[in-house]
Structure formats: C-alpha cells, structure tokens
C-alpha cells in the first residue's frame, strides 16, 4: 500500500515523459511536447542524461490493446521531445565552425537542432546555435515599368545565420558529421564550414625537414619566375614562350615570337 502511494507521488513530481499513449491517441492533449515548450522547462543547458523516471505500474495485461498505452517510449525517442543533448568539451579546442544560413528562421532552427543531435550521437561536443547578426539587403525600384520615379517600392531580403561550433572533435569524425548533414540537407538552408586541423608538437622541425625535401623542386620553380635579374636572359624567355608546352596552354593560337637578333 505504501509503495503504491510513493509511486504515485513520484509520478506527480517527476518530469512527465511521453508514453506510447501520447503517440497513439489523438484526443489526448499532450502534456509535453513541441521542443519549444520543453526548452523552458529544462533547467540546465548542458544536461547529458535523461531524467530517469520510473515506469508507471502496469495495470493491464500485455496481451490487451490498452497495454500499448502504458509502454514507455525508447529513450532515443523520448529525447526527440527534449532539447538536444550535448557532450562536454574537455580541452575546448575548436575543431569546426559550421555556419547555417537561411531566409526562414523556422527551417534554420529545425536544421540546427538536427545538426546538434547528429553531433551528440557522433560523440562531438557541439556548442550553439549562436545567432549571428542577420544580413539585410534592400532594393528600391520604381513601381511603374516606365518613368513615374516618385512612386517606388521597397524590397528586402533577410538572411538569418546560426553558428554551431564543434570542439575537441577528431577531424575524421567532424568530416563524417559534415557529410551526414550534407546528405540530409534541408531545403532552403546553406551551409559553410571552417575546419581546423592541428599539427603535432615539433612542428618547426617537421616544417624545416619538409622544406629541405622540397628544396630541389622549389629551386626549379623559382628559376622560372625570373625574379632575380640576370638569371634569365631575353633569349631564354622567348624560348620559353615559344616552347610547345606553353603554347599549348593558350590553345596554340599565339604567334611564334621571332628570335632576337
């Protein structure tokens, strides 16, 4: 008896979690829903765990159709009704900045939400969406097709932007994330990503080594540039221009230059 009471008390106090009945019956007014409502209800923006709610006692037989109403939805499905989950960054090293642009806020909000969820399931710590200043463009045109300059009309286009930052992500995972977003690209949304790659320690030494390795090739290239006077003569330049390979670059249409006398 006492346990029954405690259970019912818990059910009252705990955050209501949608059950299958929510999804199945249409007359039922949802107590939870659209993500916008839940946003206000949740307390911490960086919650990484779902609230654990004890399953309500089953009052019906598993075989009866009413049983379906008591079944708790899977956690992943419950999460859809809540704010997107996030991973915490340990080192705060920026890995990727994704900028989303759109003319419609609704689509933008939806897709940035989707991007955050995708990042969570890829184990990427994502921050945002940061609302960047919107871009406002305006055009003023005469209303008439001919003269009557005094009556004009204004048109405008607002581009809304959101920034999602990934921190501590492995470059490969970040690429997978970006590819996933591109695969499921939403209509009317543009994406732009800045990706950072990091080198290991001792970069100076490796760069030096790389430079030394390339020195032979580079010297050949530098020699062609003719930056240093006296290194290349006019005859050599004309010979280079007349060379078949360079002529082929211009479709072989330029006339052969005559040799200098």
């Amino acid at each position: 008896m006492t346990t029954q009471i405690i259970r019912s008390l818990r059910r009252v106090t705990a955050t209501p979690i949608p059950t299958a009945s929510l999804a199945l019956t249409t007359q039922y007014t949802p107590t939870i829903s659209p993500p916008f409502l839940c946003r206000r209800m949740s307390t911490s923006p960086f919650r990484t765990e779902l609230p654990v709610v004890e399953a309500p006692p089953l009052t019906t037989e598993p075989s009866s159709p009413a049983y379906l109403n008591d079944v708790r939805l899977p956690r992943a499905v419950q999460a859809v009704y809540l704010r997107p989950l996030r991973r915490e960054a340990t080192y705060d090293v920026p890995a990727c900045d994704l900028q989303l642009r759109s003319y419609s806020i609704r689509n933008l909000e939806f897709f940035s939400d989707f991007a955050l969820r995708a990042a969570y399931y890829l184990n990427l710590p994502a921050y945002g969406p940061v609302p960047l200043p919107r871009i406002l463009e305006r055009w003023t045109v005469p209303k008439a097709h001919f003269i009557h300059k005094k009556s004009q009309e204004n048109f405008e286009r607002k581009t809304h932007r959101r920034l999602i930052q990934i921190k501590d992500g492995h470059p490969e995972t970040v690429e997978i994330w970006l590819a996933f977003l591109q695969k499921h690209a939403y209509y009317g949304i543009g994406m732009k990503a800045n990706v950072w790659n990091y080198e290991g320690l001792g970069l100076g030494a490796t760069m030096e080594k790389r430079a030394m390795d390339m020195k032979g090739d580079l010297d050949q290239r530098w020699a062609l540039l003719g930056l240093e006077k006296g290194k290349i003569s006019a005859e050599e330049a004309i010979e280079a221009i007349n060379r078949e390979s360079s002529r082929a670059q211009f479709g072989g249409k330029t006339p052969r230059l005559p040799d200098t006398e």
Partner: protein, 113 residues
Amino acid sequence: MSMFRAKKLDLGCFVNARVIRDHTKRKVFAEHEAERQALRYIIRNMELPARTRAQAQLELSQMHCYTRSTQISNRCTEGGKGRGVLRDFKMTRFNFRLNALKGLIPGVKKGIW
C-alpha cells in the same frame, strides 16, 4: 559577328538579337582570355626585347573586339533589356518587382521598416 555565333541556339532564357549578341561575346571572351592575358604580360614585361613587346602590342590590338571584356554588358534574363538590370537577380527593375511580388524570388519580401 556571325562567325562567332553558335550555329544552333544555345540559350534557354528570353532571346532576342541583343541577348544572343551579348551571349556570343561572353563565350568569345572566355575562349580568348588566356591569350589576351599572355599578350598583356609580354607587353608589360620590361625584360623582353622591345621588338617582341611591340609585336605583342600589335597582336593585341588586332584581336577581334569580341574578345574584349568591355564588350560584355549585363542583360535582363526575362526581357533582354540592357538598362536597369539588378546584378543580384539578373533582371530589370520591373521584372524583379513582378517576380518579387509573386514570391518567385527566394527570401525577397516587401520591405517594411
């Protein structure tokens, strides 16, 4: 010029003589751009002999006027007009207004502020 013009119509937008002419000029310019730049480089290169540079000058001035970038001018894709074309939409102001009011241009609305 007829020698540059495509034998078959290769345009999908509004077409009239001036639109076709401008389109032809664009194609010819793109085709000869590298050549023009090469000649310009030779002309400006002080290390090359004067004779070569003078010849390149001659060569450049003798190229067809269609190969010049200045021959290209923006035209309206809806009506072929040459004036009052909005660069952002490749349309004249009036066509832009009609399309914007119909809601055919993404994101463009009547400006109210």
